[in-house]
Symmetry: C2
Subunit: 407 residues, 2 copies
């Protein structure tokens, strides 16, 4: 699938942000023997921010990471795949803290400067002895190119690594941003986790970093609908270590801030598309754009309502230009819209214009929908706000995979 292959190639060392090292090793958490432990390290203290799951059942490592992020700084991120350390109660908290302590000891940095997460099967305790050995192994393999391997080691059911890099100039210095992500369009049976690590050598104050991350995430990761559920381990983390030597970004009105947000948003958009396309169960991705809303919040709510409708998702899978399912989802979104003003196009074919059906060649429209990405544009005619949501199709494979896993 093209949107995936694009991200499969490792990022070249010249595109990776300066002052960051990584490692991805195997410590035996996965039956497959694939890499399962990822370590990302900055050679100096970095400003740090994260957006973590809103699920009330947030996993223990998420609680530890939130706690460590209160300082607005961090120097390392340790992530294991294979086991999610979720629903593990008090022991899970102890184990997550222990992972930070092990990294802290091996790197001689503060434990509170280590962020932690886990992804994989839920409800089982982490094998701490294996993790201890793995962390030693990872630390001794830290290098710049190892960032690519770290990105791969956090994968679970991903078919391809997901990563992208951006470079831009700020104050005559080149600034770099690299983003690594895991998560798939067909969600992992036991825990649907999306993890993204973004590293930049820009210099940014912690409050502005938090704000930039939030702005970018709201337009991207928060508009991705796979099956409407938010995992207990979801996390997007961003470190900025200033190693580029570019002037420090201190003001929201600055050009530097604007460019950082743009680079983050573009990178995350690519990741979202890649995540939505991945997985055996995702045949294609609908890119749902709602325009002409009164507010961005309204536009997002409507785009997401369409994106999470099972009937819509199966229609996308079947390349069926069934706009009735779109109006049904819009009408159920809890947003005040005027049905007589709504226009809808799918795969660039107008299907509804101001509430009235448009004659079209159904077979031809269906043919136009048989692409990796299907654009769906909904115009409300109420205002000027807009939003985009990405939704993976719902397929037989999704159901087969998700119903026949543990038993």
């Amino acid at each position: 699938m093209p949107p995936l292959k694009r991200f499969a190639k490792p990022l070249s060392v010249r595109s990776l942000p300066r002052g960051f090292l990584g490692a991805g090793v195997t410590c035996g958490l996965k039956p497959s023997g694939k890499p399962d432990l990822a370590l990302f390290v900055s050679d100096r203290i970095a400003a740090a921010a994260a957006v973590t799951t809103q699920n009330l059942f947030a996993a223990p490592p998420i609680h530890v990471t939130r706690d460590h992020l209160k300082s607005g700084r961090a120097q390392a991120i340790i992530i294991n795949s294979g086991s999610a350390n979720a629903a593990t109660g008090r022991q899970g908290l102890i184990d997550a803290r222990q992972m930070c302590a092990l990294v802290s000891a091996a790197l001689d940095i503060r434990s509170a400067d280590v962020l932690v997460n886990s992804t994989g099967v839920i409800g089982q305790r982490l094998p701490m002895d294996r993790l201890a050995a793995g962390i030693d192994d990872a630390v001794s393999n830290l290098c710049s190119a190892g960032l690519n391997r770290a990105g791969e080691a956090m994968m679970t059911t991903d078919r391809h690594p997901k990563r992208t890099a951006r470079r831009w100039t700020q104050g005559r210095r080149e600034v770099r941003l690299a983003t690594f992500a895991k998560g798939v369009g067909m969600i992992h049976p036991d825990m649907a986790t999306m993890i993204s690590v973004a590293l930049t050598d820009a210099a940014v104050s912690a409050p502005l970093l938090r704000r930039a991350l939030r702005e970018a995430v709201d337009q991207t990761y928060n508009c991705l609908t796979v099956d409407g559920d938010t995992s207990t381990n979801d996390m997007v983390v961003l470190l900025a270590n200033g190693a580029s030597g570019a002037p420090r970004i201190e003001r929201i009105t600055s050009e530097g801030y604007r460019r950082l947000v743009r680079a983050l948003t573009e990178s995350f958009e690519e990741m979202v598309l890649s995540i939505a396309s991945d997985g055996e169960g995702a045949s294609r991705v609908a890119v749902i754009r709602v325009r002409g809303a009164r507010t961005v919040a309204d536009a997002r709510k409507l785009a997401r309502a369409v994106g999470r409708s099972s009937l819509f998702k199966t229609a996308i899978h079947g390349a069926d230009p069934n706009w009735g399912r779109i109006t049904m989802a819009l009408g159920n979104a809890g947003v005040d819209i005027d049905p007589s003003q709504v226009s809808i196009s799918v795969a660039k074919t107008p299907l509804l214009r101001r509430g009235q059906p448009v004659r079209h060649d159904r077979a031809q429209t269906s043919q136009a929908m048989r692409k990796d990405q299907v654009p769906v544009v909904i115009s409300l005619g109420l205002g000027r706000a807009e939003a985009t949501c990405w939704s993976s199709s719902l397929t037989e494979e999704y159901v087969r995979f998700n119903s026949a896993y543990t038993t």
Copy 2:
């Protein structure tokens, strides 16, 4: 499937409410040639109430029915299957009014006393000439036993008719209630419509009838989750014609009112279970009971959040006791709960007790889940409110049917 077969038998004439006649005829709206026009008539003016779809894109007949119900009275209900008269714009309104006018003329009753609905394919105009002939045919076939045929004529992809009767005594007179429903666990590809007609010979004031219907619907039809979407044509209608001779129900505190609500709730619960079980794509039904909530609204929100989760629905299909998907859905419901107090049992097997996983034989639990109905009990430990939600499983057949329909 047992919960279905139970409702397949016609209701005996002695269990049908007095003063009601019905007919179900074929007027040629379905390619299959099956009955497609249902007429329900009271021999006198009846108090009338309805709960209709909250979808903003409500179909034209729903608008006409709402308008006619303002008086709180009605005498006939005309419903066609095969074509939903949805997304048909102004012409759709004219056609829906014309259906009422045709019934009005044939029965010599007021047009405003006729309620109307349609179900089937969307976006196409009703063939009014066929409907006119069909309405004449239906009127000339009106009889008591015809109520069963009317119930069958509103079916679309239903595999079996859904109907149930209740009798109770009020003021020394026997009161009867008959309920007919259509709608399936695997929603019709083009429009997911649920229609229910309840007829009673109790005498009830219009405001109390509305209230009783709302009370019963909130606990039953509004807690049914098939795919999370509300159709543009959904409708539950209730007529009370007083033909039993029982004293008129005028007060909410009266025994008569209480018994009416109970009969309605029990009947609707049966219908909901039958609807959730029906359809080629529904392998089983999860009955999700949330207990120990602070408010009924909270309990309902949580039960529905679990019921609409695709990951939960596929786990039910696969008989997979994957409680992680239940906690995930609970954590995303937007209700303030305490994860450390949550207990969960599935098919009577405790899986989580006050936030801690309970050891259990996974194969044995899975075996216990291989039933038509899977009880899921979630205790929050926060209060005394509770609610139940019914959810059909998500299967490969659902996806196949819904993705491969029109093209």
